[in-house]
C-alpha cells in the first residue's frame, strides 16, 4: 500500500515537471515581456539591459533550472505587470475562483441530478422533452455568449443582479476573502455560477438520465417492485443510489476543470479570480504569473487524480491482490 502511494506520488511529481517544462518552453512564443513593461521612449539599449536583468537572455535550460529551483522553495518571483510577489497575488485571487467553482459545482450537481431523475422517470412527458432540448442549447452555446446573454437579461433589462465583480467581501483570514457573507457578494455569485455551471449541469443531467434508465431496466428493480415497494423507495432508495457512483466520480473530476476553465466566465463577469489574472498576464507576457498559474492548475489536477487513484485502491480489493501477486 505504502509503496503504491509512493509510486503514485513520484509519478505525480514527474507530471508536474513535464507540465512546467512544456509551459515554460511555450512562453518563448508568447512574445517579449519587455515591450509591454517599458514606455515608448525607452531606448533600445535600456531595453536590452532590462532583458539582461530579468534573465531573459539566458539559455533556456538555465532559465528553466532557475525557475524550478526557486519554485521548489515556494518562490515564484515578482509579477512583471503588478509588481507583487506571485504567490501572494495568486493566493489573494484564489478564494474568488474557489468560491465560484464551489457554488457552480453544487448548482450543477443538485439541479443536474434532479433534472436527470425527473427526465428519466417521465421519459415521454412533454416537459422532459423540453428539458432535453433546452439542455442541448446549454451544451452547444459557448460560455462567453451565455454570460453576455445573462448579463443582458438580468443586469441590464431587469436590473436585479449585478453585471460584474464580486460585490462586497469579508476578510476571513490573512488572504481569504469571502463573498458569502454579504448580500451583494451572494447576488454577484448568481450569474457567474450559472454561466460556469451550465455545461456541467447538462452533462450531469444527461449522465444521470442515461444511468437511471439503464438501472431501471435491471432485474433487481423488477424484484423491488415485485416486493411491493413504493415507487418512491424504488426510484430513490434503489435506482438512484446505484446510479450515483459514476456520477460522483465524474463530478469530482469535473471540479478540476471548473476551476481550470473558469477563465472565460471570470473574464466576462470581471470576476477577480485566478483565471482573469491569468488572461491579463498572458496579454502582458507576465511570465512569472503564467508559470505559477499553470503549475497550480497542474497541481489541482494531479491531486484530484491522486485522490481518485487512492480511493479506487481502497475501494477495489482486486487492485491490491494484483499488486501483491505481481511482486512474487
Amino acid at each position: 500500500m505504502l509503496a503504491h502511494i509512493l509510486r503514485r506520488i513520484v509519478q505525480s511529481l514527474i507530471v508536474m515537471l513535464v507540465v512546467a517544462l512544456v509551459s515554460f518552453s511555450l512562453f518563448r512564443f508568447v512574445g517579449d515581456p519587455v515591450s509591454s513593461m517599458v514606455g515608448q521612449e525607452t531606448t533600445l539599449a535600456d531595453r536590452a539591459e532590462m532583458r539582461d536583468r530579468l534573465g531573459l537572455n539566458d539559455p533556456f535550460i538555465m532559465q528553466f533550472a532557475g525557475f524550478i529551483t526557486r519554485a521548489v522553495q515556494g518562490d515564484f518571483g515578482v509579477s512583471y505587470r503588478l509588481q507583487q510577489p506571485v504567490m501572494e497575488l495568486i493566493l489573494s485571487r484564489l478564494p474568488a475562483t474557489l468560491e465560484l467553482a464551489l457554488v457552480s459545482g453544487i448548482f450543477a450537481f443538485v439541479i443536474g441530478v434532479s433534472l436527470g431523475v425527473y427526465t428519466a422517470l417521465n421519459r415521454r412527458g412533454w416537459s422532459s422533452n423540453a428539458i432535453m432540448t433546452v439542455s442541448l442549447i446549454g451544451v452547444s452555446l459557448p460560455t462567453f455568449l451565455i454570460g453576455v446573454l445573462l448579463i443582458w437579461v438580468f443586469a441590464v433589462e431587469l436590473q436585479i443582479l449585478p453585471s460584474f465583480g464580486r460585490g462586497a467581501t469579508v476578510q476571513v483570514t490573512d488572504w481569504w476573502t469571502t463573498g458569502f457573507l454579504t448580500p451583494s457578494g451572494r447576488a454577484s455569485l448568481v450569474l457567474p455560477a450559472i454561466t460556469l455551471g451550465l455545461y456541467q449541469l447538462t452533462l450531469i443531467m444527461r449522465l444521470v438520465r442515461a444511468e437511471m434508465l439503464e438501472v431501471l431496466r435491471t432485474d433487481y428493480i423488477k424484484f423491488a417492485r415485485a416486493r411491493g415497494l413504493s415507487n418512491r423507495a424504488v426510484h430513490f432508495g434503489h435506482a438512484l443510489k446505484n446510479t450515483m457512483v459514476p456520477v460522483i466520480t465524474i463530478t469530482g473530476l469535473q471540479l478540476g476543470s471548473i476551476i481550470a476553465f473558469s477563465i472565460i466566465t471570470e473574464t466576462v463577469f470581471q470576476w477577480p479570480g485566478v483565471g482573469a489574472l491569468f488572461i491579463n498576464s498572458v496579454r502582458f507576457v507576465d511570465v512569472p504569473v503564467m508559470a505559477a498559474y499553470l503549475m497550480l492548475i497542474a497541481l489541482i489536477f494531479v491531486v484530484i487524480n491522486l485522490i481518485v487513484d487512492l480511493l479506487y485502491f481502497v475501494i477495489d480489493p482486486r487492485l491490491r491482490v494484483d499488486r501483491a501477486s505481481a511482486r512474487h
Binding site: 508568447v30 512574445g31 517579449d32 515581456p33 515591450s35 509591454s36 513593461m37 517599458v38 514606455g39 515608448q40 521612449e41 525607452t42 531606448t43 533600445l44 539599449a45 535600456d46 531595453r47 532590462m50 536583468r53 530579468l54 534573465g55 518562490d75 518571483g77 515578482v78 512583471y80 505587470r81 503588478l82 509588481q83 507583487q84 510577489p85 501572494e88 462567453f144 455568449l145 453576455v148 446573454l149 448579463i151 443582458w152 443586469a155 441590464v156 433589462e157 436590473q159 449585478p162 453585471s163 460584474f164 465583480g165 464580486r166 473574464t267 466576462v268 463577469f269 470581471q270 477577480p272 482573469a276 489574472l277 488572461i279 491579463n280 496579454r283 502582458f284 507576457v285
Partner: protein, 534 residues
C-alpha cells in the same frame, strides 16, 4: 456577440428606456452627485508614480499625485505644482521652476523644492520607467525653498513638455518607507510604493484592491478649489460588452473606453451621453524602404525603395472608407502622422485626396512590376482601436493595385519586437506625441537608428542631412526659426512618402447625462474637474 446584443437591444428598447429613465430620476433626486463610479478597460499597474510609463497608471496617479505642469484638454500646459517656469536668462540649458507655496502632502507635511529635486532624481533612477524623458538632465538643484533649477546637457526648449507625467513625491515619506528608488522587477520584493501613496493631489487613496477596485476620497488639504466629485470608485472591466452593460444597468457612471461599435447605441440611450474628442495618437503603415530585397516578397528587388510604389500605395488607400466602415465614423483621417494639436501640424500636410486605383496600377507597372508583387504585412490585433480590421481593409485596397498582401496579425507582445529588431517589411504602428511637438515624431520615426534616436524607425530610412536637421531642433531656442525648420522637414517627409498614414484615433467616453467631462487628448480625464448638471 455584438449582433446578438444589438438584436436584443432593438427588441427591448422600451424597457431599456424606462430603466434608464428611472436611473436618471434616482440620480437626480438623490444626493449621490458626489460619488462617481468610473470604469475603464485596465487598472493602473502600480501606484508607484515613476515605475511605469503607462497610460492607465498615469491617469489614476494624476488624481493622487501631482506633476509640475499639467496638460489641459486642448493640449496646452497648465500650472500645477509649478506656478511658473522659464529658461534661465543667464544659461539657456537651465530650466527654472517656481514651486507653488502652501501645497501639502496627504500625510500633512508641506511640499518644498527639495521634494521636487528628490522626485526628479528618482524619475531618473535605473529602475524608473520615466527615465528616457529625463535623459538630458545633468543636475537638479533647489537654490531656495520654492525654486528648482534643472540643468540639462544643452539647451532644451521642450524639456518642460516632458514633465506632464512625472509626479512629485515626498522625500521624507520615501526615505521612511524605503522607496527611494522605484521597484526593481528582478529584485524579488514588493516595494511599499506599489500599494501605498502619499501625494499632493486632490484625492487620497482610501482603498486599493488591484484589478478589483480603488476608492479615492477628496483631500481636504488640497491647494485648489474643492472638487464636485468627492469620492471616486474606480473599477477596471476588461470585457467590452460587460463594461457597456455596467453603464446601461447603472452600476457605473462613467465608461472611459467605449467600444467603437457601441458608441451610436449609447448615444441613443436615454439618460446617457457620449463625448468624443481626438486622441493624441495616429495610426500609420511603415515599410522597409532601404533593404536590397524584402524578406517576404517575390520581387527581385525592394519595391518599397521606389518612390512610384510608395505613391501608388498612398493613392490606393481609401481613408474615408476606413473611417466610415471600419471605424464607424470614430476617427479623423489624415495624410500626415500627426494629431492636429501638435506643433508643426498644418492643414496642408494633413490633406489627402480620393483613391485613384487606375493611376496606382499604372505606377506599379511603371515601377517594373507589371504583374504586381507580394509582401507580408505585420499587424497587431490588440493594441489600437480595430487595428486588425484596418489591416484587412488595407489588404483589400492594395490588392486593387496588384500588390498581393499576406496579412500576419498577432498580439502586441509579438508584433512590437518585429519593429524593434527590423524583422518586418511592412507594418502597422500607432504613435502618440506626448511632448505635443513634431520633434518627438522625427526623433523616433524619421532619424536614422542610432543611440536614443530612431527606436521605432523600422522603415530603415536614413538620411544624414535629415538627421542633422532633426538634431538641430533639440537645441534651437529661436522658436520661429525652429518652426520653419519643422515645416521644412515635414515637407520632405511627406514628399518622400515615408509614412502611409491612415487616421488619428478618436476617443469616446460614455457617461450619465448629468456629468460634464471633456475628452482628454492623452486619454487622462481629470475627475476633479467634473461638474454635474447640464
Amino acid at each position: 456577440m455584438t449582433h446578438m446584443i444589438k438584436g436584443a437591444a432593438k427588441l427591448r428598447t422600451s424597457g431599456l428606456m424606462a430603466g434608464a429613465a428611472l436611473a436618471l430620476v434616482l440620480s437626480a433626486t438623490g444626493a449621490d452627485a458626489e460619488t462617481l463610479r468610473w470604469a475603464r478597460v485596465a487598472d493602473a499597474l502600480t501606484m508607484d508614480p515613476h515605475s511605469q510609463n503607462e497610460g492607465p497608471t498615469h491617469t489614476l496617479n494624476h488624481h493622487i499625485y501631482e506633476t509640475l505642469v499639467g496638460r489641459a484638454t486642448d493640449g496646452t500646459l497648465t500650472p500645477r505644482i509649478a506656478t511658473e517656469w522659464e529658461i534661465s536668462a543667464e544659461d539657456d540649458s537651465v530650466w527654472i521652476f517656481h514651486i507653488r507655496e502652501g501645497v501639502t502632502f496627504h500625510d500633512g507635511t508641506a511640499l518644498t523644492a527639495d521634494d521636487v529635486v528628490f522626485s526628479l532624481n528618482r524619475a531618473q533612477a535605473e529602475t524608473s520607467g520615466m527615465r528616457a524623458l529625463h535623459a538630458g538632465v545633468e543636475e537638479v538643484t533647489a537654490p531656495d525653498e520654492f525654486t528648482v533649477h534643472v540643468r540639462l546637457s544643452g539647451p532644451a526648449p521642450l524639456y518642460v513638455q516632458n514633465l506632464t507625467n512625472t509626479f512629485i513625491m515626498s522625500r521624507a515619506w520615501a526615505e521612511a518607507n524605503g522607496v527611494v528608488e522605484p521597484q526593481d522587477y528582478a529584485g524579488g520584493e514588493e516595494s511599499f510604493a506599489v500599494r501605498n501613496t502619499n501625494g499632493t493631489g486632490p484625492y487620497v487613496m482610501v482603498e486599493r484592491e488591484p484589478e478589483v477596485r480603488t476608492v479615492l476620497r477628496a483631500f481636504d488639504g488640497h491647494w485648489d478649489d474643492a472638487p464636485e466629485v468627492t469620492e471616486i470608485i474606480y473599477t477596471p472591466i476588461s470585457e467590452p460588452a460587460t463594461r457597456v452593460a455596467a453603464l446601461l444597468s447603472g452600476e457605473v457612471d462613467l465608461v472611459q473606453d467605449v467600444p467603437v461599435q457601441d458608441i451610436v447605441r449609447l448615444e441613443q440611450t436615454a439618460g446617457l451621453k457620449v463625448v468624443r474628442g481626438p486622441e493624441n495618437r495616429n495610426i500609420f503603415f511603415g515599410y522597409d524602404m532601404t533593404s536590397e530585397r524584402l524578406k517576404s516578397s517575390n520581387a527581385e528587388d525592394n519595391p518599397f525603395s521606389k518612390p512610384e510604389v510608395r505613391e501608388a500605395m498612398s493613392l490606393a488607400i481609401d481613408r474615408d472608407a476606413i473611417q466610415q466602415v471600419v471605424m464607424r465614423g470614430a476617427s479623423d483621417p489624415s495624410a500626415a502622422p500627426l494629431p492636429p494639436f501638435v506643433n508643426g501640424w498644418t492643414e496642408e500636410i494633413d490633406a489627402y485626396g480620393p483613391p485613384d486605383y487606375e493611376r496606382g496600377q499604372e505606377l506599379i507597372a511603371a515601377a517594373g512590376y507589371p504583374d504586381g508583387f507580394t509582401v507580408d504585412l505585420d499587424c497587431p490585433n490588440d493594441r489600437y482601436i480595430n487595428d486588425e480590421a484596418i489591416c484587412q481593409a488595407v489588404v483589400g485596397m492594395l490588392g486593387r493595385i496588384n500588390i498581393d498582401v499576406n496579412l500576419n496579425s498577432q498580439t502586441r507582445s509579438l508584433h512590437f519586437p518585429l519593429i524593434e529588431t527590423w524583422d518586418t517589411d511592412f507594418y502597422l504602428l500607432g504613435w502618440g506625441v506626448p511632448t505635443f511637438d513634431s520633434q518627438y515624431v522625427f526623433d523616433f520615426l524619421v532619424h536614422s537608428r542610432e543611440g536614443s534616436y530612431g527606436a521605432y524607425n523600422a522603415s530603415k530610412y536614413s538620411n544624414p542631412e535629415m538627421d542633422e536637421k532633426i538634431e538641430a531642433l533639440a537645441t534651437m531656442t529661436d522658436l520661429d526659426a525652429r518652426d520653419a525648420l519643422i515645416a521644412e522637414i515635414w515637407q520632405e517627409v511627406m514628399e518622400e512618402d515615408i509614412f502611409l498614414n491612415i487616421h488619428n484615433q478618436v476617443l469616446a467616453y460614455a457617461m450619465r447625462e448629468d456629468i460634464n467631462l471633456e475628452v482628454h487628448p492623452e486619454n487622462q480625464p481629470n475627475l476633479a474637474k467634473v461638474t454635474f448638471g447640464n
